[in-house]
Amino acid sequence: MLSKNQIAQRIAKEVKNGQYINLGIGIPTLVANYIPDNLEVVLQSENGLLGIGPFPKEENVDPDLINAGKQTITMLKGSVLFNSAESFAMIRGGHVHLTILGAMEVSENGDISNWKIPGKMVKGMGGAMDLVASAKNIIVAMQHCSKSGDSKLLPECTLPITGVRCVKKIVSDLAVLEVSPTGGFILKERAPGVSVEEIMAKTSGKLIIEGEVPEMVFD
């Protein structure tokens, strides 16, 4: 099984040179730590910044400079600031190449649920619905099963949906899977030490296995 940092590390291998990327809160934020130095990419924060830098040193903390998770951050050379309407214009307009976000459930046709649990306090969807409705490529970072052991990769989402037919790829603690355009999770890679049988047992949506499934390789 992968740790949260290993999920982030594996997702970082999907990042391509020249991409503008939006990272969600949680594991997706960790992806930034593993993007190779030789790639030129720009991270977008939907509260109005392109070019997110590292967390500041204590003496450089600026309350007027935060990311969408409300964490203090820094800017880089070439960073640019803008208002919220402009920020979502670049998101909906398809200018952001890759969105990486967390999920509570993903269905075998690529629907995602990640904003609301009936019976619990609803905090809101933030920018998630805009992001999943528009991004060209959406990768989900998630745990394969709930704490009680139920699969979170389902035939259909049971929780309220955030977006339909939008997820392209999933990196869970057990596997890398692609969502087939005709429905189903295509098993691409296994986490080290995790068997195909275990992934089959823990995936309640349609699982597609094409030949040998390699183990993930970490650099």
Partner: protein, 231 residues
């Protein structure tokens, strides 16, 4: 140039009535109109509807207005950091309308720009789309969202001049510029107020045409929600 200056926050918010429909700039606690919120707390008004991306925290920002029971309804995209908010919501004392953040921003922008409605892909196939017109353009589905306008929009900028021209700093810009245009009366509080001519026209983010009242705020606390540092 038209002088938009008012003396202070109390004068700026003096005529906001009970039941007013307000917009307030800010993302989390960054770029919120701290002085105007403090001044509103001194007014004996209630039943406010507030459009704001977030609802502050228990003891700061819009959370203070909630605690004093001045708010009837919040229109926001994310309200997760506020226990008093949760209590009032669960007790049925407060209404909340949750809107995808990009839709919220565009509804505000449209309100200020004379666009009554628009079509967006955000929320198609979700409960956000319930009761809304869906149309297909180039094979993809979109839902219709309508513009938002306010009686008063209350915003915060870094620098401004007496004609209401504004410059923002960092990510404290967020919803502030678009809300300026969407309020019948826009109240802008700034950290530094200068005479006309004191700002470089090339650097101004929000033209003063949208701003009706401006004053220099004081004692900015600029509270940080998530202080994250590197070693």
């Amino acid at each position: 140039m038209i002088n938009k200056t008012v003396k202070d926050a109390l004068e700026a918010v003096a005529d906001i009535p009970t039941g007013a429909f307000l917009m307030m700039g800010g993302f989390g606690l960054s770029g919120i109109p701290e002085n105007c919120i403090s001044a509103l707390l001194q007014r004996d008004i209630k039943d406010l509807t507030i459009v704001s991306n977030n609802a502050g925290v228990d003891d700061f920002g819009i959370g203070l207005l909630l605690k004093k029971r001045m708010v009837k309804k919040m229109i926001s995209s994310y309200v997760g950091e506020n226990a008093e908010f949760e209590r009032q919501l669960l007790q049925g004392e407060l209404e909340v309308e949750l809107i995808p953040q990009g839709t919220l921003a565009e509804r505000v922008r449209a309100g200020g720009a004379g666009i009554p409605a628009f079509f967006t892909p955000a929320g198609v196939g979700t409960e956000v789309a319930e009761g809304k017109e869906i149309r297909e353009f180039d094979g993809k589905h979109y839902l219709m969202e309508t513009a938002l306008k306010a009686d008063f929009s209350i915003i915060k900028a870094w620098k401004g001049d007496t004609a209401g021209n504004l410059i923002f700093k960092g990510t404290a810009r967020n919803f502030n510029p678009i809300m300026a245009a969407a309020g019948k009366i826009c109240i802008a509080e700034v950290e530094e107020l200068v005479e006309v001519g004191g700002l470089d026209p090339n650097q101004i983010h929000t033209p003063g045409i949208y701003v009706q009242r401006i004053f220099q705020g004081k004692d900015y606390e600029k509270r940080i929600e998530q202080r994250t540092v590197s070693n």
